[in-house]
């Protein structure tokens, strides 16, 4: 992982408390220019708080935050002309139509690509003439997404932007982000939809309780986790469970199922080979499994952190 000087976002040791609740606890996050960065974490882990600090809406207690070469708090307005933000929970003005909101937000960001706006309206199948009070959650989200995607900006901050979209719209969204990436723009994508993150993201940061617990490419993260192995050998499989890095073993003389730390995979394979491997399936860890491994045990603790 190389952190170049021109990283789009670089956060070190960011801390933010609300009263006695510590929302962010020495969080680190680096997003390189031009990459799509997945930002994962359970509810209440501090994703939205981080994005609000990046937007200069919240003031950091301590730590350093740089975005697009500026200070998000001090240079908020100048930076906001170069980014677009899509909130996870979009609230709109009841009496204003979707088309008007898209235009307003675009103009306030410093310009809207009208052709792209109309094309996006078509692709997301949104009626811009309806008053916002009649939109469903998914349609409100489309309004914010179209406003963000139709702006010519360097950086997109997306906070769970697809939580209300149907699978069809989800795939439109993925196409749009792929295009954004081709244009060399940077995306910070906070998401719960792991398939979406796997499909779109170059690198991923996983946070928990306001702290970054993993960061890297999906390949690097996989390396840190376990691979599931199912093996059948000609000689009995004794002593497997004693090998370093092997977990959750289920042996039945010639058959075995176990998980192995990906770093130890090579050593384990060398031990299996002499036993005469008849069949072997190896399943790389899914993002789901990585996710659950990080949070499964700490879910109860996470619930106490809000916002």
């Amino acid at each position: 992982m190389t952190v170049s000087a021109e990283a789009a976002i670089s956060i070190t040791a960011l801390t933010k408390s609300f009263g006695r609740t510590k929302a962010l606890d020495a969080l680190d996050l680096t997003v390189a220019t031009g990459e799509v960065h997945g930002f994962l974490g359970p509810n209440g882990s501090g994703k939205t708080t981080t994005i609000r600090v990046l937007l200069g809406l919240l003031r950091a207690d301590s730590g350093t935050v740089r975005m697009l070469g500026g200070d998000p708090w001090r240079d908020a307005v100048a930076l906001h002309g170069r980014l677009a933000y899509v909130p996870g929970d979009v609230t709109l003005w009841p009496g204003i139509t979707g088309g008007e909101v898209i235009d307003l937000l675009g103009r306030m960001r410093g310009g809207l690509n009208r052709q792209r706006r109309d094309e996006l309206l078509e692709r997301f199948d949104l009626d811009p003439r309806k008053k916002a009070r009649t939109y469903s959650k998914g349609n409100r989200q489309k309004v914010a997404l179209i406003a963000g995607l139709a702006s010519d900006v360097e950086l997109l901050l997306l906070d769970e932007p697809t939580s209300g979209l149907d699978p069809l719209m989800e795939s439109v969204f993925q196409q749009c982000i792929a295009e954004v990436k081709q244009q060399g723009r940077t995306v910070l994508l906070s998401s719960h939809i792991l398939a979406e993150v796997e499909a779109l993201c170059d690198r991923v940061s996983i946070i928990r309780m306001g702290r970054t617990v993993e960061s890297g490419t999906l390949g690097e993260l996989r390396h840190l986790t376990r691979t599931s192995i199912a093996v059948e050998t000609s000689s009995p499989l004794a002593g497997i469970e004693a090998l370093p890095g092997v977990h959750d073993v289920l042996v039945e003389d010639h058959h075995a199922r176990f998980d192995v730390d990906t770093a130890q995979l090579d050593a384990v394979m060398r031990r299996l080979a002499p036993l005469g491997v008849r069949s072997l399936t190896s399943t790389p860890p899914t993002l789901e499994e990585m996710f659950l491994r990080h949070y499964g045990d700490d879910r109860a603790a996470d619930r106490t952190v809000t916002l």
Binding site: W93, E100, D103, M108, K130
Partner: protein, 525 residues
């Protein structure tokens, strides 16, 4: 109807903080009127003089009610206050029923409720039952206030019953409107329009031969003549109409889909107009409706004040006690009347200014400020945009009050010059009103969560000082603490620039301090 009882208990819980204020407001109106009237026209001679001056004044009759009520002191109280109590109680009913029918349906809350073991008519029945309970409570309270201040018991019972019956009519009307329109705003708009028409019809009827008054629920209530004949039978009208309206609402509810109305909402613009290009455009777009409403209301109030300006001289000569309220004494009685009424209008304009400034907080807490502040819009621009509505809007509201009063007074004395004169007089209050708005800005900057409290306290304090300082001999410092006391009592007093400039400077300083607070704090949600 399954579940209606349980829902009613739930609604009572949801209303436990709001409903008491409506009831208290209605009771206070009557309490003040009853004590004041009995002080001013306690004797039969006072009352006879009042009948002479007021009985022939069409403007006063149009504003209040049928002059037959002036037969007794209790009737005089009903004459002056009945229409206004009815408006308060009708609005209470409109919001009670609207909030728990269409607004809940629009927000998706009743979907959740209706998915449970709850009948189709249960939410409507519970909302109407809540309104009836509130009306009965209002009736009992008004009876207690009138009888408690020494008015005859029989008339007081009728007074309470009449107000309750008018309230129920508007509850039932709201129930129908809630079926017809798809959003709560349209429901309130339609019912508000009917309420305005009800007031206007009875005004026209009371001035004319009385026929039109029989088309108005407020007219039905007034024609029970509490304390001046006590007839109960006109109450059959609001009760029958309420029953029919409820039946109509139920029939409509059975014919329509959940979430749908009879009047489909119109599509709007597909693209934003050039005016909606920045946060200023947005702030004015969001607040223009409210501003028009307040300005129109103040213009009407001004017109009501102005229309009796010319009879004031005669009136004061007949009722020297009133002169005590007017600082200039009997000599400059009209000017001091105009000064007092313009000051009342200015207090209302200050209330508008504060409600407009607090709109900023509503934008912030609802999360709608977040996407705006995430664009290239500075906090200063955001504050300035909303503040421009509050400041220019309150000035506009003052001008509207002056225009209304100037027009009405100018017409009665045949002097067109009264229009610019009274607009100018009203605008003298601009710095004082802006200072009150500045208090709200300061609070938004430094006490965001509690901002509404100091802001409304400032309005309330100015009102108490302006209305009661003279009659209750409040200590001098309490007067000096109100910006309204530093505004010369134009047109009675001579207008001097210094106090106005000082008030304006204070307002500017407070607003700058408020911005300093807003700039350094978190945007809160």
């Amino acid at each position: 109807m399954t579940g209606a009882g349980r829902l009613l208990r739930f609604l009572l819980r949801r209303e436990r903080r709001r409903l008491p204020w409506w009831l208290l407001g209605a009771a206070l109106l009557v309490l003040v009127q009853s004590t004041q009237s009995q002080n001013l026209y306690g004797t039969a001679e006072d009352l006879a003089r009042l009948r002479q001056t007021i009985g022939g004044n069409t403007a006063v009759i149009a504003m209040s009610g049928p002059p037959r009520l002036l037969d007794s002191i209790g009737g005089e109280v009903v004459f002056e206050i009945f229409a206004f109590v009815c408006i308060v109680v009708a609005l209470m009913n409109m919001f009670l029923v609207g909030r728990h029918t269409r607004a809940d349906e629009e927000a998706g809350r009743s979907e959740l409720i209706r998915s449970a073991r709850v009948g189709r008519d249960a939410p409507l029945a519970a909302a109407l039952a809540l309104a009836v309970l509130a009306d009965l409570a209002a009736g009992v309270l008004l009876f207690a206030v009138t009888a408690g201040t020494g008015l005859p018991v029989a008339g007081s019972v009728l007074f309470g019953a009449a107000v309750a019956a008018v309230g129920m009519t508007f509850a039932a009307l709201t129930a129908v409107a809630a079926q017809a329109f798809e959003n709560a705003r349209a429901v309130y708009g339609a019912v508000g329009l009917v309420l305005g028409a009800a007031y206007a019809l009875r005004a026209a009827g009371d001035v004319g031969n009385g026929a039109l008054s029989w088309l108005s629920p407020i007219g039905w209530g007034q024609r029970t003549y509490p304390y001046a004949g006590d007839r109960w039978w006109p109450l059959l009208l609001p009760l029958a109409v309420s029953g029919l309206l409820v039946l109509a609402a139920v029939a409509l509810q059975h014919r329509r889909d959940f979430g749908a109305g009879l009047v489909p909402s119109r599509p709007g613009r597909a693209t934003a107009s050039p005016a909606l290009r920045n946060v200023y455009g947005l702030a004015w777009r969001l607040q223009r409706g409210a501003l028009l409403g307040w300005a129109a209301g103040l213009a009407l109030l001004g017109a009501a004040y102005g229309s009796i300006g010319d009879t004031i001289e005669q009136y004061i000569a007949d009722n020297p006690e009133i002169a005590e309220f007017l600082t200039g004494g009997a000599a400059q009685v009209v000017d001091s009347y105009l000064a007092l009424t313009i000051r009342m209008s200015a207090l209302i304009a200050a209330a508008y200014g504060v409600s407009s400034a607090l709109r900023m907080r509503a934008e912030e807490t609802s999360g709608r400020a977040e996407p705006i502040l995430a664009t290239a819009t500075s906090r200063l621009a955001w504050l300035a945009a909303h503040l421009s509505v509050a400041l220019a809007g309150s000035a506009l509201a003052l001008a509207a009050a002056g225009l209304g009063e100037g027009l009405a007074y100018g017409l009665t004395v045949s002097d067109a010059g009264q229009v610019p004169r009274l607009i100018g007089v009203a605008l003298a209050y601009v710095p004082a009103v802006w200072l009150v708005v500045a208090v709200a800005v300061l609070a938004i900057g430094w006490l965001p969560r509690l901002a509404a409290v100091p802001a409304w306290l400032a309005v309330g304090y100015c009102a108490v000082v302006a209305l009661f300082a003279d009659s209750f001999d409040l200590p001098g410092w309490t007067q000096r603490a109100s910006p309204f006391s530093h505004t010369p009592r134009v047109p009675l007093a001579v207008l001097t620039a210094t106090p106005l400039l000082l008030l304006g400077a204070c307002a500017a300083v407070l607003m700058a301090l408020g911005y300093a607070g807003l700039r350094r704090r978190d945007v809160s949600f």
